[in-house]
């Protein structure tokens, strides 16, 4: 009950057996549904990763080219954030990281 196991004495006899069987079936059903939910989530994660992977790869490659172009134009990235022109010319420095 509310995440806590509760033992309830229901006596003995055919009626108690029946109630115990019902409880067991319910417990089994809950377990199966939890396993199915975990499987669903794992499948969903795999599906999302399948869609995201090429996006992330594309993004990374574009970033790499952009960084190359900025480096060739004389900019240097400061502490993985701001790109600044070397030789003290930072008049067009841009804040923000990639």
């Amino acid at each position: 009950m509310n995440g806590t196991r509760v033992r309830e004495y229901i006596g003995s006899g055919p009626l108690a057996e029946l109630i115990a069987q019902g409880d067991e079936a319910e417990r089994q059903e809950r377990l199966e549904s939890a396993v199915a939910r975990r499987q669903d989530v794992a499948e969903l994660r795999a599906e999302i990763a399948d869609v995201e992977e090429p996006l992330v790869l594309f993004r990374g490659n574009v970033s790499l080219l952009a960084a190359g172009a900025l480096l060739c134009a004389g900019y240097r990235q400061h502490d993985r954030g701001e790109w600044r022109k070397r030789n003290g010319d930072d008049s067009h420095g841009n804040s923000g990281s990639e």
Partner: protein, 183 residues
């Protein structure tokens, strides 16, 4: 910038290594980076192809067998790419624009999927996964916009507004080039 990349046919591991070294402050790598940048159009074409693969995968995952929706998504993406890039986009700019549009599509697709899940009934665990995907997609979109703005601002000629005494206000495009020509 994230530099955890795999080598592609156009950019070898050595190229990537040089770019990463240059970015971390190794000046000896700069000549190598310049050589890589000479192949920029070729590299850009190859990376653009990767973008198309990513786009198709995204469209397929979202539209499924609804081919009308799939076509509409791709047409809209092409339209956006054209209007954001403009007529004079450099290969690098075109790539950055493609990244913006792809990230936008990604964010829209996740929103569509999220709405479907909510409508069709959902498990909290699934909703949480979609919600995380949504966060990542929106972050990627914002980063892509920022990267495009950054490259346009730093690598394109400056647009400046000049007031000339009492005369009309005029915009002078490519002020840097104009001044250079005057000298």
């Amino acid at each position: 910038m994230a530099m955890t990349l795999t080598a592609t046919a156009g950019a070898s591991k050595k190229d990537i290594g040089a770019l990463m070294r240059a970015q971390s402050g190794d000046e000896d790598a700069i000549p190598e980076v310049r050589q890589i940048m000479e192949r920029l159009p070729e590299l850009a074409a190859e990376i653009a192809e990767m973008g198309r693969v990513a786009e198709l995968k995204l469209v397929e995952a979202t539209a499924g067998e609804n081919y009308l929706f799939a076509e509409a998504m791709q047409a809209r993406a092409a339209q956006l790419r054209e209007s954001i890039a403009g007529p004079d986009a450099t290969p690098l700019e075109a790539l950055l624009v493609a990244r913006v549009v792809l990230s936008w599509m990604d964010a829209c697709c996740v929103d569509v999927r999220y709405a479907q899940v909510v409508k069709d009934g959902f498990a909290w665990e699934q909703l949480r996964e979609y919600s995380r995907w949504q966060d990542r997609a929106h972050r990627r979109f914002l980063t892509a916009c920022k990267a495009l703005a950054q490259v346009r601002r730093l690598l394109k000629p400056i647009l400046a507004q000049v007031n000339i005494a009492a005369g009309p206000q005029m915009n002078v495009a490519e002020l840097g080039n104009t001044l250079a020509e005057m000298e």
